[in-house]
Subunit: 313 residues, 2 copies
């Protein structure tokens, strides 16, 4: 069997659906229609278990409604962890269901640690764990977000797992939040390339390219992508021009202020190499429309697809 | 009831036991005595559930054996996450048991995200979650490790939760791994203080001090500590002299190469303000001694305590 490299699979799905969107499954309880939560609370009492069951029902409805028009989902681990061990079950159920519907699954967990501990994280989310003679895939995502502050030996175990299990990762380069500048925009002493000093985030991007060139796939992108916030369009353009082999995950579109024109800069000359996240605007669209959450999510996802298509292509 | 600030509680325990040690509960399966794992596999089959049950039994034995001589434990989340949802149950059971034995619990998860997502993480590990009219504490640690790459607005929700629930955090400043230098040691352009350029890690440390001064407790330390690796003793000394209100968590002692003399530099003139982690050397001491894992862990913890005492006091 010929294996198609992880990001190539994502890109093919994006091409087929003409939609470079990933839907963020960030099920804060206030985003879930009250009747769903109420039903599970009635069954199980006021409990984290009831909340987790509501999350799974909510996510399954979203996935059913979106899987033929959106190529990927990105569960944000924090909202599952906030429900304790029941939340971990909900995360797993969500990933399993999305995969069963053919969606590419990015777990957004921003994990980071050293050596053997980074290896344990990569086994959890991308790889496998062995108990006795049996192998288990705890979460089995297609890709994981990571934080590169610890340097290359903290990233390497994730790359090794990505190569072994045909997965991918996205490391934080330039995040979408207002304080991103505090550390990420600091200028490094000494001349960078072309005599101009480099920022910390550019140095992180360069580091990612330098340790991943052996993993480049069909479309020219390596298994190590970068998170670059839609809220910083000039930085997106700068990084797109600088990081030729780095697939971009772009948060911050919509609710946080990034426009379609802003995120269009993340794409290469073939309209490839990036995927744009939207969470709240899609999953909580029902709050604005006042109608069914699944239908509301689908309409917003179609609107976003059309907006991105006209900005990019 | 007078609340004693989180790090003051830790420091009082350290003073009482004359032992600034935190034991890292990093239960990689190869560190668990084979008979424990075998017992649970026999009962439950080769499964993540069996592995998680073995982890809980192993940790409870360690906690029983150490709780009167060691003030704190630090479960490393990665090893629990690697067992999927069963691992989340094992993490919770471990935290609950350690707390019931009076130990200070630091969950080492190096979490990081923006705004409402960082809030969800802080609810999970330090705070509470509300379902209907009921409040739950998913993991209820005393402290959490975080990664500051996203800047102050990514840290603020953790500080808010720490203040509200009387908890604390440790942010990564200078990690213990070989690649730590790649990003953390970069020199920032322009004169820092005293005309010398600052490193990125010093800038992170400065940032932590600047956003936490309103949380300083009885011993002069704020609720925002720093992770500083034992493997970089000169940097420990530099940071101790620089960050007057920052409690240090020191990994890298022992197995990674940091000596007692190295870590002694993390303590203030009163022998306070830091806690030193040891994981494998204590929890897997049975591999060297060939005898009971609980007794072996206790002997190694006593040896470390005595070594630290003579280096520090």
């Amino acid at each position: 069997m010929v294996r198609i490299m992880s990001f190539d699979r994502l890109q093919k799905k994006i091409d087929e659906m003409r939609n470079p969107t990933v839907v963020g499954l960030d099920p804060a309880l206030e985003h879930i229609p009250p009747d769903i939560l109420r039903k599970h609370v009635t069954e199980k009492g006021e409990s984290l278990e009831a909340a987790a069951a509501a999350v799974v029902e909510f996510n399954m409805g979203l996935i059913d409604s979106l899987c033929d028009i959106v190529p990927a989902v990105k569960p944000q681990s924090a909202y599952y962890e906030a429900l304790g061990p029941d939340g971990a079950l909900a995360l797993k159920a969500t990933c399993d269901y999305a995969r069963s519907k053919g969606m590419y699954v990015i777990i957004d967990a921003k994990r980071n640690d050293i050596g053997s501990t980074a290896e344990a994280y990569s086994s959890a989310y991308l790889g496998a764990v062995t108990v006795g003679g049996a192998e288990f895939r705890p979460y089995d995502a297609d890709a994981l977000t990571v934080n590169a502050y610890l340097g290359s030996d903290g990233i390497q175990p994730f790359i090794d797992a990505a190569v072994k299990y045909d997965k991918a990762l996205f490391a934080l380069v330039k995040t979408s939040n207002p304080s991103a500048c505090e550390l990420q925009d600091m200028l490094i002493a000494g001349a960078g390339d072309a005599g101009a000093p480099r920022t910390v985030y550019a140095a992180v991007g360069d580091l990612l390219e330098s340790i991943s060139h052996h993993t480049i796939g069909e479309y020219g992108y390596s298994r190590v992508g970068a998170v670059v916030g839609a809220t910083y369009p000039e930085e997106i353009e700068y990084l797109r021009a600088r990081l030729h082999h780095t697939f971009f995950l772009i948060p911050g579109y919509g609710a946080q202020g990034g426009s379609a024109a802003d995120v269009a800069r993340a794409f290469d000359e073939n309209g490839r190499g990036a995927v744009v996240n939207s969470s709240r605007a899609i999953i909580a669209a029902w709050k604005k429309t006042g109608s069914d959450y699944k239908e509301s999510a689908r309409l917003e996802a179609l609107r976003m697809r059309d907006e991105l298509q006209s900005a990019i292509l």
